[in-house]
Symmetry: none
Subunit: 120 residues, 4 copies
DNA sequence: GTGGTCTAGACCACA
DNA sequence: GTGGTCTAGACCACA
């Protein structure tokens, strides 16, 4: 269900967080669907349960999942989360574009960077 | 000349690197212009000289500056650097756009995020 | 009769305990009135019978209900319970007010927080 | 500087968080003052560094401290934090009062609970 | 020295 | 079985 890249410089727990975020935002994991248990996922990914625990804690804090003690972790509804995520992306784009033009990059060059995904 | 934000979560040396990169790319620091000495900058910013040293080392490794033993650190020409930087930015943009559409963000919404910098 | 919020961070059995406590204190469940059977309530709320059993055990321990073997669980009289509950609330209030003034909160500000319920 | 009560049912890291919160809100720890290092505090309180780390992480997340990598943890300014804290307290008071009147507690009885701190 | 991440493994509360 | 907390201890990046 989830893939971890040990060569990635980001911490493992952060990768786990991001993977689940996207799965939930895309609707692959539906509202109120149960996530793998901390222990099971730890075994499956050959990670320590503490690492998974930390990732799940982060996901809960950010509203992506909720925890029922003794039962497990479940996905929250994604509507509000998607809006928040979109805003974050727009903010990131603005940041990048701001520095880009500050070093003299043209609108044309910026768009070239972006247009490429259309071909994908 | 340079501003460091201790509350920024990034390591200090990384902030120093980025500030100088932009100053050089923008041409504020011209080709062959001398950078502040490690010692002076450390005092000015109340930082450990090791931190500055590390930042300068990184800048040299990336081709932004060159070192003349006994004389100091000097800015390289920015032409090639700018091209490389532009490619990096385009790559970043593509990455972001790719995940954005994967969660169902429309072209319209993407562009809204970007257009904002024009108003700035 | 009772509502359980799985997204509430408190354990389920604790929520069950609190709901019944208030129902009994308010007199909605009268003295000697029979509570739902463990089995029925478990089905109705889609909970594990163990969870209900635990909640009822706790309610009994605190004197809110009594058990008649083979017959079921029944509400105790609420007079003494109310007095005890009031004292608990006053204790809680004192605790909060104590820390509040320790950080410099004025009597005025404290009262503003409290007065709001009057409008409700 | 800080006292931990092992008999307290709350998790240790939470107690650490609360103690530092109050120290910062009261101004005992001033803005930009350095907190004890993770390791030192762990030794002093006979706790595992991980536990302190978690507490500091929580304090940072809530804006009470900021971390400078390689340097340590430092207190943030408390003005905004105090306002937020006051609102939390008022909210707690409202919650308690709401349930209190729902079981028939009079305004008089509520105030008796509160007035006691004045004598302290 | 300072914080950040991670593994290994124990123990507890809850369902 | 499920999550939550904690200890012990290693290793790394940063200053």
């Amino acid at each position: 269900m989830i893939f971890i890249d040990l060569k990635d410089s980001r911490p493992i727990y952060e990768q786990v967080v991001e993977r689940f975020k996207l799965l939930i935002l895309k609707g692959v994991i539906e509202r109120d669907e149960k996530l793998p248990s901390v222990r099971n996922l730890a075994v499956e990914l050959s990670l320590n349960p503490n690492t998974i625990q930390r990732a799940y804690g982060e996901l809960e804090r950010q509203g992506y999942i909720y925890t029922v003690k003794g039962k497990g972790n479940f996905a929250s509804g994604s509507e509000k989360l998607i809006d928040r995520y979109k805003e974050e992306i727009q903010k990131q784009l603005r940041e990048i574009c701001k520095t880009a033009i500050s070093i003299g990059m043209t609108e044309e060059e910026l768009m070239n960077g972006i247009r490429e995904w259309r071909k994908i």
